[in-house]
């Protein structure tokens, strides 16, 4: 009897727990967001190409009392996405909160637009824009059926400012803003909110590679005169995923110490 009750209770508790999928979560903002969502009581589906970072994150998530499904692979690969959603379905039923965090600039290949090549643009647009469309296309239908969902797209304040040398990245991140708005309209009446976050300069690995002189120059453009921590962006991710943000949709939220006031 007691055993039966326990199983029912466990199923009840499981249903109450929300499930979040965070793409590109082994490091930086993705990692901090996953931890913040775990802290707020969600279970997690974690995807990244870096096994080592995923292993550490998985352990941290378990320590916080959350369950996790971990998939090491590239979200640009449809087969990996098959696996992600199979795992999610099997282990958790469905995704309630989708954090489309995956994205990257051309990094070492970044250059002024006239010196850049179409191959580089394609690579940046695919990982920073197309992947979000692909993942969302798979995650949103069950949110719509169940009448509840949160979709958070990680854009960038570069989409608004247009930092030099980042034409492809800015185009991708601006693309996310248009995508966010259309999706917010299409899904608004199904209890799904769709928002974009536009972080400014944040202390991530990409940031660690910057020269001190460049860093000082960046800081001088920020009224708060400091770069942000991944945890500060994660706080906004958590907020948008929670009940407190139930009436925010279709918005681009800047989190950048005032660098660009949206």
């Amino acid at each position: 009897m007691a055993g039966e009750f326990f199983i029912e209770f466990e199923q009840f508790v499981m249903k109450q727990r929300k499930v979040a999928l965070v793409t590109g979560c082994a490091n930086g903002i993705g990692r901090a967001s996953a931890l913040s969502l775990a802290r707020s009581g969600m279970d997690l589906v974690l995807v990244d190409i870096e096994q080592e970072g995923l292993d550490v994150l998985r352990k941290n998530v378990i320590d916080l009392g959350s369950r996790s499904a971990v998939i090491c692979g590239d979200c640009q690969d449809e087969h990996i996405l098959d696996e992600v959603f199979e795992f999610a379905q099997r282990d958790f039923g469905a995704i309630d909160v989708l954090v489309n965090n995956l994205g990257r600039s051309a990094r070492e290949h970044a250059s002024s637009f006239l010196d850049s090549s179409p191959d580089t643009w394609s690579a940046v647009l695919d990982i920073s824009l197309m992947t979000t469309l692909r993942v969302t296309h798979r995650a949103a239908p069950s949110m719509k059926r169940r009448g509840w969902g949160r979709i958070i797209n990680m854009s960038s304040d570069t989409a608004l400012i247009g930092d030099e040398g980042l034409a492809d990245y800015a185009a991708a991140k601006s693309g996310l803003l248009g995508f966010t708005r259309v999706l917010a309209r299409e899904l608004g009446s199904y209890g799904i909110t769709v928002n974009a976050i536009c972080p400014g300069a944040i202390k991530t690995r990409a940031h660690d590679h910057l020269k001190p002189s460049i860093l000082e120059k960046i800081k001088s453009t920020i009224p708060m005169n400091r770069v942000g921590e991944p945890e500060e962006v994660a706080g906004l991710v958590s907020f948008l995923s929670g009940d407190g943000a139930s009436y925010i949709t279709g918005q681009a939220l800047a989190i950048n110490g005032g660098r660009y006031m949206l």
Binding site: A184, Y247, I248, T249, Q251, G258
Partner: protein, 251 residues
């Protein structure tokens, strides 16, 4: 959802006597803050707070935000009785619906005096107290109408657009003092202020149809965002105009 995110904080709320402001007061209290309320009318709030033990620590000051000396006196009294200020919520606001041809200039002035000048005057009077803290946060309740216009509200839209830009300017000026300033831009929220210009259900349906989520907002949905911006969780967010409107302005 009580997370004690505002423990030991001292928050001044204007327009706390009704609507969104009143909800901000009760959320601030439940998050552990002490609160001072500046409003023209306090009877409704007093009645609500009577049921609540927090009344003992809540400072109520009758103030017309559009009257300069009342603001000076009110903010000073609030700060003295709370023992300082580290947060301000400017929620006092009035609406004006009028075709432009017939718009009365006294009405125009009144809207600007309350919604824009009054709010910024409160910020200025609160500033010496805010500066004494490690960090402080100001949240101005603007409106989606300050980002994308709605019909027959020239004064209201202009006042809220002014409040948004004043918030951004203040954010820039005060960032180095670790004072964050943000504007929250609600859509149609079911309050007395909203009902004041609604004739029947068909009016409400028409309003709802402007929003992607096809419904009105609840005061708690706005107050939750205000609490977030007041709290340290929003430590990197300043100068933002955050629309909370179920999808109309797509800011």
């Amino acid at each position: 959802m009580n997370k004690n995110r505002l423990t030991e904080r001292k928050i001044l709320v204007t327009g706390g006597g009704a609507g969104i402001g009143q909800e901000c007061v009760s959320k601030c209290l439940s998050e552990g803050a002490t609160v001072a309320v500046l409003d023209r009318k306090l009877d409704k709030l007093e009645k609500n707070l009577e049921k609540d033990v927090s009344i003992n620590s809540t400072v109520l000051v009758e103030v017309d935000i559009s009257v300069g000396e009342q603001v000076c006196r009110g903010v000073k009294q609030a700060a003295q009785e709370l023992g300082g200020l580290d947060g301000v919520v400017n929620s006092a606001g009035i609406d004006l619906v009028s075709e432009f041809d017939d718009m009365n200039w006294d009405d125009w002035s009144k809207v600007l005096d309350v919604n824009l000048t009054g709010a910024i005057h409160v910020c200025q009077q609160a500033l010496p107290y805010l500066r004494l803290n490690r960090s402080s946060s100001i949240v101005n309740i603007a409106s989606g109408a300050g980002l994308v216009p709605i019909q027959n509200r020239v004064a209201y839209c202009a006042s809220k657009a002014g409040l948004i830009m004043a918030s951004k300017s203040l954010a820039m000026d005060l960032a180095s003092s670790d004072i964050r300033v943000n504007a929250v831009c609600p859509g149609a929220v079911d309050t007395d202020l909203f009902r004041q210009n609604i004739r029947d259900e068909s009016d409400i349906e028409q309003v709802k149809s402007r929003y992607a989520m096809n419904r009105l907002g609840e005061v708690s949905e706005i107050a939750d965002v205000v609490i977030f911006l007041l709290s340290d969780e929003a430590s990197l967010i300043t100068g933002s105009a955050l629309a909370v409107d179920g999808g109309r302005v797509f800011h």
